[in-house]
């Protein structure tokens, strides 16, 4: 187990710079999730930690040692790939034992470790099978087994659940989390799925365009997103954004939209007249007396909650309410916004105010 420090890491492919100085500190035993839309450098960063990609600038250290110029095998890391990357010509036991075989460990020790890992992952019955004879979830577990037999300093997961169906994804998510609680190995986990990130991480690193947008604990990211991108990316359904200007009405600070609706605020530090984006999560809107009238276009009942889509002066707004509200599309409902849960961003820069 070890800490991982990423300091000012950049990556260039020829003349194109794809990563612009990334800094992340990962503590011993921490479960860190790199999250962001596909193709924005999370996997590249992970592969640089693994040593599969060269670092163009900056340093990566594992357990205090700078590993920039080390071969992957000298870094003492284990990686689980999106496609599992099992060796199709080897049995489950041979797949899991391969890293140890490469370390020239004695046969008895390999067998013992593989057996133990198989027990943890509930694979004992399948040790003599080939990967093609296993289901997706079992293959996933074999890939994890191959990682844990090594007892590495750091686990790296590269979108390990994206090839599984939705139901299996939820159960594997729990399994990986349990495994981490049991082994307490430092883990870096890449995903594009913000729910995976929220449910599994101690710490989330939101990345976009080769830059870190925000680092924080899941609920901090949910409660205080640093900018519009993080606000829109974390949370499902996504946060509502309403554009307007800061104003004072009847002695209270509000955000005034183009059609004159006043959105309630609590303590805003910026001056009146500034163009701002008002963010409010659908689950922080309720329907009730005294709310802002919104013309509803679609009701989506899911049983436990109802998602209501509407329009406020040309801008989309949706609300997620626990009550079963039935109504006709086109009718007007009063949306009550909790001003303490409202977020305010500078429209021009996207930064939280």
């Amino acid at each position: 187990m070890a800490t991982v420090q990423i300091r000012g890491v950049t990556k260039r492919y020829g003349g194109v710079q794809v990563m612009h100085g990334v800094d992340v500190d990962i503590e011993d035993g921490e479960f860190v999730v790199l999250v962001g839309p596909s193709g924005y450098g999370k996997s590249t960063l992970l592969r640089m930690i693994a040593g599969l990609e060269e670092v163009s600038g900056g340093t990566i250290s594992i357990g205090g040692r700078v590993v920039n110029d080390m071969l992957p095998k000298e870094r003492d890391i284990a990686m689980v790939f999106q496609s599992y990357a099992l060796y199709p010509h080897k049995t489950v036991a041979q797949n899991m034992g391969f890293p140890l075989l490469m370390q020239k460990r004695p046969k008895a020790e390999i067998e013992e470790k593989v057996r133990k890992a198989a027990e943890i992952l509930d694979l004992t019955k399948y040790l003599d099978r080939y990967p093609r004879q296993l289901s997706g979830g079992q293959r996933q577990r074999v890939a994890m087994g191959r990682a844990i037999v090594r007892d590495p300093q750091v686990f790296l997961f590269d979108e390990p659940l994206s090839n599984l169906d939705a139901k299996l994804r939820v159960s594997m998510r729990v399994e990986i989390k349990e495994l981490h609680q049991r082994l307490r190995t430092t883990t870096v986990y890449v995903t594009h799925d913000q729910i995976e990130a929220m449910t599994m991480a101690h710490k989330i690193v939101v990345m976009r365009d080769g830059r870190v947008e925000q680092i924080g604990r899941p609920l901090d990211l949910y409660d205080r997103p640093a900018n519009l991108f993080v606000a829109g990316f974390i949370g499902s359904p996504a946060m509502n954004f309403l554009e307007g200007r800061l104003a004072t009405r009847d002695g209270r600070r509000v955000v005034e939209t183009a059609d004159g609706t006043a959105l309630p605020l609590e303590g805003a530090a910026a001056e009146d007249g500034r163009r701002v984006t008002y963010g409010i999560r659908p689950e922080h809107i309720s329907v009730g007396e005294g709310g802002i009238p919104v013309k509803v276009s679609v009701f989506e009942p899911t049983g436990s909650e109802t998602l209501i889509f509407g329009r406020l002066g040309g801008q989309l707004i949706d609300a997620l309410v626990r009550d079963r509200i039935e109504g006709e599309p086109g009718q007007t409902l009063p949306f009550r916004i909790d001003p303490r849960r409202a977020h305010l961003f500078d429209t021009a820069t996207g930064v939280r105010l």
Binding site: L52, P72, M79, Q82
Partner: protein, 412 residues
Amino acid sequence: MNPALQGLITIVVGVGGCVAYYYFSNQLLDKVLFPARGPEAGRNINRANMIRPWLFLFPALFALGLYLAYPVFETLRLSLTQRLPGGGSEWVGLQNYRNMLGEPKFWEALRNNMLWLIVVPAASTAFGLLAAQLTDRIRWGNIAKSLIFMPMAISFVGASVIFKLIYDTRAADQPQIGVLNALWLQFEGGFWSLVFLKIVPALILLAFAAIVAWVAWIFVRPMFKTGEPTGFWTVPLRLFVAGAAIYLIFLSLRSIVNIFGAELPYGQPQTWLTIPFWNNFFLMVVLIWIQTGFAMVILSAALRGVPEDTVEAAIVDGANPFQIFFRIKVPQIMPTIVVVWTTITIVVLKVFDIVFAMTNGQWETQVLANYMYDKLFRANDWGIGSAAAMVIMLLVTPILVWNVWNARRELR
């Protein structure tokens, strides 16, 4: 008539005839034999659909039957008969085979064929695999590949002519036009001659013996291990492999001794193709030169098909480049290697042109196909010629079946 016009007409008539056959036979089936009308329309449609594949396959089946299946049986019949002076033939039973087995030239051909069978597919596949792997990641890899593949475009006879020039001999006081003799005359018995002509060949032979021993051990090992499932019927096969391996190891070790004992005729141009036993290898080089390109192209495609993820996983797992190649890549393309190997094996068993063009079977280089040609068309002895053809077919068939089986399994 202008030959070009003639050719054009032939093409039009041929293609038109094919199209007409398919069109009209289909019409006949649908409109006349089993029309989809009347009270039994449904039954007729089903029957027409059952007959249609056979109708369309018929031309191909007929041609194959006429030009492949019929000659096999006719050859079998001919191998059991003998031509009579003045015309006609008589039934002689297995006499042709008995005569053939009594001829030392037949055994020489069989032995040489076995040598070709071991050396050429192994060398072509190994070089092809090596070339495929080495050219995989470099910028000028495709140029290198094209160069290695180019001999495939040369006919066997053309390649033989090229290599006859390489092996050519001139008197000692004249400039050598053969590359091999020109090289040979550079050696004069000094230190480098010792390295290149004694130590390097001895090491190659030693490596060969080691590989043979290793392969044999893989075959034999399960017999000593209890608990591993081995079919009882495989025991003779395993013993045969072990026996053949011991013989090959003995041969290579004896050759090493011979190499160091031999007095080499330095300074004298050699007529390479007349040196018994070794001239076989000079002929094999021609086929290896041609077939390496084939093996490389197929294996290169197979190597590209190895998932990059498994290679990266192996890198993270701590495998070095050799381990990645032999433990991750090669096992994954093993089915393709087997198909390439067996395909070349079949080419080798039929090898004729190279021997015919370069030595015509003299100086102990005879092979079965050339032996057959000799008997059939030079000695005009169709009996023994056909018997030799049957032997070749017997040797090819099992490998062919295995090849087809493997290729089909890989397609699945």
